[in-house]
Symmetry: C2
Subunit: 301 residues, 2 copies
């Protein structure tokens, strides 16, 4: 590291990206924010970003690193290699941290294209939820070269509470994240199934929630998401459609490994049904709405 200030652009200012960007600002990095949503851009500018824009191309030549927290592989590819793509405009040797949840295959293909342009990739999905992102305490499960880890050290220091070095091979980080999402998705669907059954049995859901969160049936996702069901608030922090995508990746991964997934395939069907029933843009806890014949708590009741 020289004494030159370190410049990083966070691309995708959703729940996780906004927190990551704020953490970079707090850590003293020269932070750029990129999103199509101008409200998010204004917020980050007020929070101390050096500059914000709907396109990272505006400051591509100033960047040491880029963190991609967009929704899926198609968006990663569009940002980097699409029309007016960012990758060609970055300085040689710049590091690209791909933190979106994508398949191992997509991670490998993106890495190959970046390498061809003289850029360095870290396959670095994240977890932890919006609160941990805002606190600079995300969990990062990363694979890549030592050079990639070194170059991104200031960013990892800023955004992560824990960094796992899974190995050198690009794709390992993606795979670990996908297996993590298997658990996250099944836990939300199981929480919904349990709370729906409780509603049918006439158990007050706030009491059921309280029991579970104080007992061995608890999960991180149950505690976080079933609170939304108890409060009747399905404002999306993370949407049903995200889990249609992520559990789709889980099942694609299992298929490519010739491996059966009894529960994750079922959970995928539950989220897909919820999406088709019109709840795709609601909070992922809205998967509980696939169950008929029950009355759920209403917001403000």
């Amino acid at each position: 590291m020289t004494n030159k200030p370190y410049s990083v652009a966070i691309i995708g200012l959703g729940a996780m990206g906004m927190g990551a960007a704020q953490s970079c600002v707090k850590a003293g990095l020269t932070t750029y924010g990129v999103d199509l949503n101008t409200t998010a851009l204004e917020k980050l500018k007020q929070d101390g970003a050096y500059a914000v824009s709907q396109s990272a191309v505006d400051f591509a030549d100033k960047l040491d690193a880029v963190v991609l927290l967009v929704v899926n592989a198609a968006q990663v590819n569009a940002v980097l290699f699409g029309e007016n793509g960012l990758a060609e405009k970055l300085n040689k040797g710049a590091a690209v941290m791909v933190s979106s949840t994508i398949s191992a295959q997509d991670a490998k293909e993106i890495s190959q294209k970046l390498t061809n342009l003289g850029l360095i990739m870290l396959d670095a999905p994240v977890s932890g939820g919006a609160a941990k992102a805002a606190a600079g305490e995300m969990t990062v499960m990363a694979s890549g070269s030592k050079q990639a880890f070194d170059k991104l050290q200031p960013v990892l220091d800023a955004v992560a509470g824990k960094v796992y070095n899974i190995g050198e091979e690009i794709g390992l980080g993606a795979t670990v994240k996908i297996i993590h999402q298997l658990l996250a998705g099944v836990h939300i669907a199981a929480g919904a199934e349990a709370m729906a059954l409780a509603a049918k049995a006439g158990i007050p859901l706030d009491l059921m929630y309280d029991v579970v969160t104080n007992a061995a049936g608890n999960s991180w996702m149950f505690e976080n998401r079933m609170k939304h069901v108890v409060e009747g608030d399905y404002s999306p922090l993370s949407m049903v459609d995200i889990f249609v995508k992520d559990l789709g990746l889980v099942n694609d991964t299992a298929k490519s490994l010739h491996f059966p997934l009894h529960l994750a395939s079922t959970a995928y069907s539950m989220f897909t049904e919820a999406s088709n029933a019109g709840y795709g843009k609601e909070d992922d806890s809205a998967v509980i709405k696939i169950f008929s014949g029950i009355e759920l708590p209403k917001k403000g009741a």
Copy 2:
């Protein structure tokens, strides 16, 4: 309460019952222990029990309360109403805390029989695992009369970190526990499915465990049970066959309520398959052994 010492018998000295009995001793209650296993009886005697026996009938007339932590409703019925049954020999007004996981219907039938004998029942399943039981910090989810709660207050004070009063109706406690077990069982099966997929993908399981337990995919059961998989130690703390029984109760409950359970029915099949494959008496984490074509960690490796 008078100043007369309070006498309680714990029947069933398995992982939870032993801890509950030790907690009663620590709290200063005159504690009796009952089990068929003489090793368990000797241990509890050494730990300070007033007396132990293979049959509670030996000291039935001395008891203020009985706590049943046997395996299932058949055992509860056998202890209370079988040949040389305990219920007829208890003093009128004694309290029977039924803490085994049983169906709401069984709880109601047992309560009716106890009431006919002038006894008081608390429908009071427990959770928390062996460590919490030993620490006197079980979670108790109970329903019953105020009289039942009052009479059992010294026991609840001794064994519970948290007591939920679900309502007066016998059966509500059982139902809440069964819904809790839906989550516990699905979480173990999901943990096994995720770790099996990680093994197939070539991810070291200790690393996968470390990532999940530091991220949003974690559950109480994942953290507790997948440790056994990582260590290759399937010594039973709670057996596969317990979840065949408990998820069977979950599915019976759903059937009686005319309610679909996508995930719990699948998890039930996974545990049943594990039992049929010969793993019924192993730790419930051995459900992972239903997956072929993977190599799992060996004990001491």
